[in-house]
Symmetry: C2
Subunit: 431 residues, 2 copies
């Protein structure tokens, strides 16, 4: 087995005990990239010498952090002090910031090897798409906007990568690419230094190839509760199977994935109970759109004024409020979200997690349609932690995942649940 | 009258009609700074040649924005592409970012002359204080954390300046320095590129020497409702006079300022009615502290890991959660805030604005104590717009202001109310 094939958790064990160096792992990832990158196009910026220099610096560190030696892809709308950040915008082509985004700084502080910048949808929002292809089928999207991050982890180029989620930009690509992903509780990871779209929604997330990989990053961010494990056995879990208010929009493969995941859990001795989210929850998806468009109005004003001709029409529409979002509608959306956050939390501890679709179906064909975030945007607005888990494949052989969701700040418990349920849910896939 | 003596609105009129150039105004401000800055120490970075170059660039622009030619001070924890941003932290001494913070980009896009960086409390939060002195009494603080911005505007060095408010960092210094200030509805001004402390609380604010000055900046940010004026006469206004849950903490001069403002309004024919904020509001101040400390936990983790020895103990305490904030307490605080936001909004349109204290009293003596934010932090957590209005002087001859508060997104109406009530409230001061 080559080092690049290791999950982050498996590599971390070797890096911690000294049987693998950051440089050797980074070199292995770079060699694999040399082979795969021409097809997958996951990276917007990748300088092998810089990645190796970062690895050697980590190898010389006098203490080992929780991410020690692990190559990390960084979505190209998150600032890095040593690499440009283009936001996939012609306005910021080659832009160099003086300091790392907060999440990158924390990862570096915990020993991660900042490896390269992964391609993204313009400003992680709209406009230009990434060039990235789905590693499972080059004719299809890896999803967006964290296109390159999901694809790079799926394709073995890096064991870990940062994405962001404002609608469904972390969990949906994970489903399309067949990898694990975590969108933590909103606000627990400082999003400073990532391009802002909506302050109520923007959330830093991350990708790995196993639940234990996701946990390493959560440890780096010192998420609440990691120090006090639940310590439950699978047989003590109760999972709420939630089709959700947008079930009718799910393609057959996504409906089947959810039901299959439920059956597999039951077969593994885990209690599964159907859960319906009543009246106010059906309006949360639309509330998310209002918040997104309403807050997007101020998010791109700087670029609108400075470089109007270089700004995609999608963003001019936001600034000009083409959707006609009113302040009154925003207030209603905020207050509905607050009410539903409170209500959703009351489902716990009756349930340990809610199991729900991660995407409409398989990854769409082409580069322009990065998929519909309808199975994600509600959870993003509710601020709750979500973990994407691969489950099955669709009619075209592409991955289809599911996600589990917890209450606000239940990130640590949700990671434990993920570790317990993933072996069942993800059982059908090879590897 | 020298150009530096003009309010932003008065200068803007001359700049728009061509009777004053950006260069002439900037030169006048620089000359005044040369005289005052050695005493006031408002600026962390001021390069006269760069300020003049920025002015000349504006003078050559082919269109005039709403801030055309107006020198602007920028709090030194807000990024500027052409000037370093130190955050008053030894970690970021001389840091140069590749792009402007969003608010600076918008101001530049509307023709503002970025003049210099104003001194701040470390990371606009805690730790090191600004060197700035109160222009009215060099032995006293101008308040914090927007110390230099408030003092620079009060001292005539610039007509406009950006601050931020997470607790009371915009409105309190305005009261201490005898200037006008606005903290808009949370989230309507993109805070990207300003150092993050608390994503729920951090708000960009600004200073001027008249209500019309504040309005110019609001126009630059295209705040909701500016295009549809209320068009009320003073006699049609109804103001709620609110002592608030922390009244007992107000010094006599601050209690007197509020009651005096109320009497002056009534004398001007404006209806004033006492307003009590019942039960849940009394807990909002403590909820703000919980949100601040809880979110502060993640805000400085990057610096904690990268430069532990250069980070002030105040911030290590945040990261190590010295206050022992729990996730459960954070959830309670978020939900209380959401409930009180909704309730506060219901006071409108019964009232046109709520009149309430802006600070505990006069500016404290010394540089270390920048004043208590207890009369601001509730409003910050409620996300509502606040406008600080000078009112009177205290026992030591220092300014004491009040503030008016509106419902969420009522920024435009609140600016109109400010223009109507300020001549009465601010009547006692010379000039």
């Amino acid at each position: 087995m080559e080092p690049w094939q290791l999950t982050a958790a498996a590599a971390a064990a070797k890096l911690q005990d000294g049987s693998l160096t950051a440089e050797a792992l980074t070199r292995s990832c770079l060699e694999h990239c040399a082979e795969r990158e021409p097809f997958t196009k996951a990276f917007a910026y990748l300088d092998p010498m810089l990645a190796l220099a970062n690895a050697r610096r980590v190898d010389k560190a006098h203490a080992k952090g929780v991410l020690h030696g692990l190559p990390l892809g960084v979505k190209d709308m998150i600032d890095t002090a040593d690499m440009p950040t283009s936001h996939n915008s012609p306005i910021y082509e080659g832009l160099r910031q003086g300091r790392d985004a907060a999440c990158v700084g924390v990862a570096r502080g915990e020993g991660a090897v900042v490896f390269g910048k992964t391609d993204t949808v313009e400003f992680a929002a709209a406009g230009r798409r990434a060039l990235t292809r789905n590693p499972h089928d080059a004719s299809r999207t890896p999803g967006g906007s964290s296109s390159g991050s999901a694809a790079a982890v799926a394709d073995g180029m890096v064991p870990l990568a940062f994405g962001t989620q404002t609608g469904g930009s972390t969990i949906r690509p994970a489903s399309f690419c067949g990898v694990y992903a975590m969108k933590p509780t909103h606000g627990v990871v400082n999003s400073e230094g990532a391009k802002r779209y909506s302050h109520t929604l923007d959330t830093i997330g991350w990708y790995g190839r196993a639940p234990a990989d996701l946990r390493l990053v959560a440890q780096a961010f010192r998420l609440f509760g990691l120090e006090t494990p639940l310590g439950k056995a699978p047989g003590q879990l109760r999972i709420g199977l939630c089709r959700g208010p947008n079930w009718a929009l799910a393609a057959p493969e996504s409906q089947e994935a959810l039901l299959l995941a439920g059956r597999r859990l039951e077969a593994a001795g885990i209690a599964v109970e159907e859960l319906e989210l009543a009246a106010p929850f059906k309006d949360v998806t639309e509330a998310q759109r209002i918040v997104l468009m309403g807050e997007g109005r101020g998010a791109f004003l700087q670029e609108y004024l400075a470089a109007h001709g270089l700004l995609h029409q999608d963003f001019r529409d936001r600034v000009e409020n083409a959707d006609g979002i009113t302040a009154a509608a925003l207030v209603v959306a905020y207050d509905l979200a607050a009410e539903c956050r409170k209500r959703f939390d009351t489902l716990f501890p009756r349930f340990d997690a809610v199991l729900t679709p991660a995407a409409v179906g398989e990854a769409p064909v082409g580069r322009q349609d990065t998929g519909n975030p309808v199975f994600n945007s509600m959870w993003t607005l509710l601020h709750v932690p979500c973990i994407g888990i691969p489950c099955t494949t669709g009619p075209n052989g592409l991955p289809v995942g599911v996600q589990i969701v917890g209450p606000r700040f239940g990130d640590a418990a949700l990671l434990e649940v993920a570790a317990l349920v993933a072996p069942a849910i993800d059982a059908g896939r090879a590897g």
